[in-house]
């Protein structure tokens, strides 16, 4: 039975939901403790203490940890590592930023973005934009792992009664300073965990035209996504990019609109349960992985779709 520690993704108020998938992954390895590093993050600590099967919530709460900077959080994880056989984090921008720094401090080769646990040394992960799946065995005495959330179930947020322990930590080194953040404000569900996603590509043509997707999304309670081409063209903000190096999504329903289907995009969404493609080009590669394809002009079809869903 391994002892595991999961780094909690949060904003000092709310628990990042992808943490729950990481906890499910950690449970496949052994016992689960979690680390909340932040400032005035009591609400997050309380939420973590109720997650089923979490044994202990370790809390590093203090100035310097508020923004989750890698230079500040990595030493906290390193100082706790000797008590654990595996350190895990969701493969979010927080986890991807911090965990390799921790791994190098521990002289460990990290396992990135894992899809499955085979046994306590062996894991599956995607390479080449998801076009090959490797089964890899680690010989490191401690495993440092980031977890692809869509590959694991969400751990229940209730039923647990973990004990809460403060852990000591050093003042962070003065290498980096947080200046500001520009959050995309949206009332829609989170792209990474939404059960329905509608994404637009270059074919949508403009930022204004994304309103056509919004109308459909309203009826489906969907999150909005975008292809790299749409983000590069300024039609959609960067954090909506779905793909190899953007967000990985696997909703129940994924609707790709005006997206040709470059392999880099497919890498981020091909594990969706049902894929719908709407594109005017019958030869677009997106149709090769779609369950339902509609060869049509999106400007005619989207208003029709919104109307049909309203009925």
């Amino acid at each position: 039975m391994m002892r595991t520690l999961v780094l909690v993704d949060h904003d000092n108020q709310n628990l990042g939901l992808q943490t729950l998938n990481t906890i499910t992954c950690a449970k496949a390895l052994g016992t689960v403790d979690v680390l909340v590093a932040g400032e005035n993050c009591q609400d997050v600590v309380n939420a973590c203490a109720q997650i089923a099967d979490v044994q202990s919530v370790l809390v590093a709460d203090g100035p310097g940890l508020k923004q989750g900077l890698a230079e500040a959080v990595a030493p906290v994880l390193k100082s706790l590592a000797e008590n654990y056989d595996a350190l895990l984090a969701p493969a979010t921008s927080l986890g991807k930023n911090i965990m390799p720094r921790v791994a190098a401090m521990l002289d460990v080769q990290q396992l990135s973005d894992i899809l499955a646990v085979v046994n306590e040394n062996t894991f599956k992960r995607a390479v080449f934009a998801g076009n090959a799946i490797q089964t890899v065995q680690s010989s490191d005495p401690i495993k440092v792992i980031t977890v692809r959330s869509t590959a694991f179930f969400t751990a229940p947020m209730t039923g647990g009664h973990a004990d809460v322990k403060a852990v000591p930590f050093m003042a962070p080194p003065e290498l980096s300073k947080f200046i500001s953040t520009e959050r995309t404000v949206s009332s829609r569900p989170d792209l990474s965990s939404s059960t329905v996603v509608i994404s637009g590509g270059r074919g949508v043509g403009s930022k204004e035209n994304f309103a056509l997707l919004e109308k459909v999304a309203d009826h489906l309670g969907a999150a909005i996504g975008a292809s790299r081409a749409a983000v590069d063209a300024g039609f959609a903000p960067n954090d909506l990019q779905v793909g190899q190096t953007g967000k990985m999504v696997a909703p129940e329903l994924y609707i790709a609109v005006g997206i040709s289907g470059a392999i880099q995009h497919l890498a981020g969404m091909k594990d969706s349960r049902v894929i719908v493609a709407i594109n005017s080009d019958p030869d677009a590669p997106i149709f090769t992985i779609a369950d339902y394809g509609l060869v049509a002009d999106l400007f005619e079809v989207l208003p029709e779709l919104a109307a049909a869903l309203e009925e």
């Binding site: 190098a104 998801g130 490797q134 890899v136 947080f178 880099q264 049909a308 869903l309």
Partner: protein, 252 residues
């Protein structure tokens, strides 16, 4: 200010790779190889720093077999000042990110750059680790997934692409920056610059001469094709689509 840029030779982003049917790996024989696209962005950013009078020299490093010489020549043609090839056995497996980070640390200790610019991810192993690891090993700050970079008065101001949007950090130099897609649009090498690149300094170092333990920590037990999705259907109208989503797929 010296800038160190690492460039990885990878299967070109347009190539659909083939997995060997015996599970032994990906077939790369005869496949087009190119500079990792994120590394092109890192190099472009370094060239722009030179053009802006902020950087004085760009050292391009590549680790791998002889083919990396082509990647480095491209880097010189795009604007690197000189190249260092850490050469290793043609048949050896590529180094793991931790080993790459150790090599880059050794080169950095010799060259003393104030800035290391790296791609956030290589499009072959999709690890997204090296920049963070180099920063850790050197004890430097890290600005990962950068979409904007400004160097001024001994600090780097970096805008990062994060899950919720954008985040701005200030880092003390020296530091490590990893590049995201929106940082810049890399240029192509012009013919005169390709010719000029042939006269730029090009150093070759044998990996074993660095005295770094690069033995792998991971063993790839098998490499398999991902599950293939069943062939889908073409529907003829929005009504037909909605009907099928309701009754057949049962997702709405």
């Amino acid at each position: 200010m010296k800038v160190l840029v690492a460039v990885k030779r990878v299967v070109d982003f347009n190539v659909k790779i083939r997995v060997r049917s015996d599970g032994s790996g990906v077939d790369t024989s005869g496949v087009k190889m190119s500079m990792n696209p994120y590394d092109e962005i890192a190099l472009e950013e370094a060239v722009r720093l030179v053009e802006a009078g902020i950087a004085s020299e760009i050292i391009a490093v590549s680790i791998g077999p002889q083919g990396c010489k082509d990647t480095l020549r491209t880097a010189l043609a795009i604007g690197a000042s000189r190249a260092i090839h850490i050469v290793m056995d043609e048949m050896a497996n590529p180094l793991e990110p931790l080993s790459v980070a150790k090599v880059l640390k050794a080169i950095s200790e010799r060259e003393r750059p104030e800035l290391i610019l790296l791609g956030k991810q290589a499009i072959d192993d999709d690890a997204n680790q090296t920049a963070q690891m180099v920063a850790a090993l050197l004890g430097w700050g890290q600005g990962t997934f950068a979409s904007n970079l400004e160097i001024k008065d001994g600090t780097a101001t970096v805008v990062r692409e994060v899950d919720g949007g954008l985040e701005t950090l200030k880092l003390k130099l020296p530091c490590v920056i990893s590049t995201d897609l929106r940082l810049n649009e890399p240029r192509y090498a012009s013919l005169p610059n390709i010719m000029k690149a042939k006269r730029k300094p090009f150093e070759t170092i044998a990996l074993e001469d660095l005295g770094i333990d690069t033995r792998p920590r991971l063993t790839v037990l098998s490499t398999d094709e991902p599950d293939i999705r069943p062939v889908g259907k073409i529907v003829n109208s929005v009504q037909d689509l909605v009907h099928k989503l309701k009754t057949e797929a049962k997702v709405i």
